[in-house]
């Protein structure tokens, strides 16, 4: 949809694009506020609390109050900080996340631009995010921040690789299916991939892909169990430990916007985005609802993982990525290639991927139960044998005078 059609007036393309960008930025800011509120409420439910209740009806204005507080707070810069790195870092973390919304399809017609290489654009630009984090870490002149920033960089590099490989696998499947309709080259566009999932969401074809994407997403967002860059009990908040006021708020906003972004992406790639799986065309209104429901389910999943998982250690995180996720995603790409080259049907693709997912789960379960050890659940107990009480004897002493 072009806005000009919607509003009934004609306008040049660039004004149209500008309006859409403004619309998206405004929507995302509201979305981030809503997400912060939702996270606090849902997390509170997980933790036997009630969450914010005082600001507005059932605490709905809490995010606004927080934002007002952040805006009015003093913006402190440590005297030893690198001025430019420190002050520009929030923007470097903030801008790429918003840029990535350009090819995101919220409905069949609601997006800024349907880019031909949308997926490549998303990951290329999102990768810039880490520059801001490292700038903040280095510029703060703080050891906790430095450790956090280096952890974040290591984590981003190791988790983007399996994630990208999985995207490749998804694009292969999409290209194979789109080629039937005649245009396999559209498989880089997110909207084309969503459009192909009218009856079969790709989670059925690539369950392993969905799993690895979720894990990579949690790592990308620094969410538990992958939150060691911002670990409170180790590096006291990590790379934004020295930030205060609105600069800190921008990191926060970027984090929640990225959460919404990756959730939309995951729902577009694997859950069929704006599609209703049992009928072809459902109209604009229902498409919005479908996108909203699918993303909400995933958001609850992400927030739940925050409540229920402790934190991995940095070396465990790296070895999980390089030794488990990367081989499995390579195998997935190769398997897809072989099946599609020989024209295998869709259910074979899905079955192989599901088999790989089961193998991955079994491997992790096997390793961890071996590590837990035999009989670890019931600690060996020695029955307490009652004895006759022997009171410690009071021994008389020469009372020392002073």
């Amino acid at each position: 949809m072009v806005l000009s059609e919607f509003a009934g007036v004609s306008m040049p393309d660039w004004i149209d694009a500008l309006l859409r960008i403004i619309f998206i930025v405004a929507l995302m800011t509201i979305m981030a506020f809503a997400l912060i509120y939702l996270e606090r409420k849902i997390l509170a439910r997980f933790q036997a609390r009630v969450g914010p209740t005082r600001t507005g009806p059932i605490g709905t204005l809490q995010s606004i109050a927080d934002a007002l507080k952040l805006v009015t707070k003093e913006d402190v810069r440590p005297i030893t900080a690198d001025r430019w790195a420190f002050e520009l870092a929030p923007y470097m973390a903030f801008v790429p996340v918003f840029l990535v919304f350009v090819p995101m399809p919220f409905t069949e017609t609601w997006f800024i631009r349907d880019l031909n290489l949308g997926l490549l654009f998303v990951f290329g630009v999102l990768g810039l995010n880490i520059v801001g984090v490292v700038m903040a870490a280095w510029g703060s002149d703080n050891k906790y921040a430095l450790l956090g920033g280096v952890r974040a960089a290591a984590q981003a590099i190791s988790y983007e690789i399996p994630m990208l490989l999985i995207i490749v696998a998804v694009v292969m499947v999409a290209a194979g299916r789109l080629a039937v309709d005649g245009d396999a080259s559209a498989a880089g566009s997110i909207n084309a991939i969503v459009g192909d999932q009218t009856t079969t969401p790709y989670i059925l074809l690539q369950p392993l892909g969905f799993f690895i994407f979720i894990i990579g997403m949690l790592a990308e967002l620094h969410r538990p169990p992958f939150d060691m860059p911002i670990a409170e009990s180790e590096v006291v908040g990590g790379y934004f430990v020295e930030y205060s006021g609105m600069r800190w708020g921008m990191f926060f906003l970027a984090e929640y916007t990225a959460l919404f972004l990756l959730v939309v992406l995951a729902s577009s790639l694997f859950l069929g985005g704006w599609n209703w799986p049992f009928g072809a065309d459902v109209g604009l209104g229902l498409q919005i609802v479908l996108t909203f429901v699918k993303t909400s389910v995933m958001i609850v999943l992400v927030i739940g993982s925050r409540a229920l998982f402790p934190r991995l250690r940095i070396d465990q995180l790296m070895s999980f990525s390089w030794k488990v996720l990367l081989p499995f995603s390579i195998v997935q790409v190769i398997a897809n290639g072989i099946i599609l080259a020989y024209g295998g049907p869709d259910w074979v693709v899905g079955l192989v991927s599901f088999g790989l997912l089961v193998a991955l789960g079994g491997l992790v379960y096997y390793i961890m139960s071996r590590k837990q050890g035999e009989g670890a659940r019931t600690v060996q107990t020695t029955p307490a044998t009652p004895r006759v009480i022997t009171a410690p004897e009071v021994t008389p002493v020469e009372a020392g005078g002073d």
Binding site: V379, T395, D402
Partner: protein, 387 residues
């Protein structure tokens, strides 16, 4: 390029010093203000990247001279300081002190008071271990879930304590010879109700943490101590038992009326952080067992203090070392009387001080995150370390 040396000699050639690429170890302060130190404990870690190469612990920020203060008050007046050493297990600490004074002065206390003391102390052990579960869960990385779940259960026990003695942390309820006053009328029913809730709470914590793969990955084989090492460092309590030594003063040097109950001592195998967690979890269940037996056996009426108590306590000259099993280990009071109404010497043997001394070998050559977990698994109370 022309360079000049200190002697004024002019060198026409640039001096090229060949060096290997050097990396510098970094010092990181964990504390005194840090989310992972559970109080004001400071640990300077020398790290090579993420790996801890050296650790220097600093204690003493909370030193208030409790021993010396106790020597300047009479035997009954110093009881309040016991609440303020191990504030997470104040009943247990009070109990050691009053027991020491009673043994020194030769005072017999009524059976009912003994039961109430034991019940409160065992409740306090559960409360303290719940606190450990919550704080340790936060150290390992649960975003508050372990903390809020365990605090929910702690709250019930604290409500019970509040009903009994009017305070939630600094109880000051035991007296030399008995108790300050009768517990409230529905004490036994309330205790049974709290126990039911607490058992569910222990199960919740168990389900949240014990079999979680990430939790196992973080805790297994971290900070492992053999039995010999643990004994050499003077480690006591759950940490010692996690290393495989079934040493529990309630059984090995029984005091009070612990010989009337049947329970089991949990013992670990590897002495690592995970075993310490498991031992504490099982100890909570064993405490529930003891409490159920004690509540059934407890006489419903009777005196809570001896009929005659001297107005001023003047024990015969002598010395005593009274030690009991606190949630964190062996808590001892060494007391010397010179026949006056003030103790001539009071020495507190605090378990955390000795347990904490074993920290350094546990954290060296591990990751920074492991150092935090190992520190958390010791379950320190800094007020008790520094006294």
């Amino acid at each position: 390029m022309v360079q000049q040396t200190f002697e004024g000699e002019v060198l026409t050639e640039p001096v090229v010093v060949e060096r290997e690429f050097e990396t510098v170890d970094m010092n990181i302060n964990i504390g005194p203000q840090h989310p992972a130190t559970h109080g004001v404990f400071r640990m300077v870690l020398t790290v090579d990247g993420e790996i801890v190469k050296d650790a220097i612990p600093y204690i003493g920020y909370m030193h208030r001279g409790g021993e010396k203060l106790s020597e300047n008050l009479d035997y009954r007046g110093a009881l309040g300081y016991q609440d303020r050493t191990d504030y997470l297990a104040a009943f247990n600490s009070e109990w050691v002190y009053v027991n020491a004074v009673e043994r020194l002065a030769g005072i017999e206390i009524p059976e009912r008071a003994e039961y109430i003391r034991l019940i409160l102390a065992e409740f306090n052990r559960i409360l303290s271990h719940f606190m450990f579960m919550g704080a340790f869960g936060t150290d390992v990385g649960y975003f508050g879930t372990a903390f809020t779940w365990t605090f929910k259960e702690r709250e019930r026990i604290q409500d019970l304590f509040e009903a009994v003695c009017g305070d939630r942390i600094m109880y000051n309820y035991f007296r030399v010879g008995g108790l300050a006053w009768e517990p409230h009328e529905t004490f036994i029913e309330d205790s049974h109700w709290v126990l039911d809730q607490v058992e569910v709470g222990i199960g919740d914590v168990d389900e949240l943490m014990t079999n979680n793969e990430v939790f196992i990955a973080r805790c297994r084989d971290i900070g492992a101590m053999t039995a010999d090492e643990a004994i050499a460092y003077g480690v006591t309590g759950p940490m010692l038992r996690a290393s495989g030594v079934p040493f529990d003063l309630r059984v090995d040097e029984p005091y009070s009326i612990y010989d009337r109950f049947h329970w089991e001592i949990p013992v670990g195998e590897r002495g690592d952080v995970y075993d310490r967690y498991l031992v504490r979890l099982e100890e909570m269940r064993q405490s529930v067992t003891i409490l159920r037996q004690a509540l059934d056996q407890m006489p419903t009426s009777g005196p809570i203090e001896p009929e005659r108590m001297p107005a001023r306590l003047r024990p015969e000259p002598g010395e005593i070392y009274m030690r009991q099993e606190n949630p964190r280990g062996e808590y001892g009071i060494y007391m010397v009387s010179d026949g006056t109404d003030k103790p001539w010497r009071v020495k507190m043997r605090s378990p955390c001080f000795h347990n904490l001394s074993s920290l350094k070998p546990q954290v060296i050559n591990t990751y920074l995150a492991d150092a935090v977990v190992a520190l958390g698994s010791i379950d320190i109370v800094l007020c008790e370390v520094d006294r």
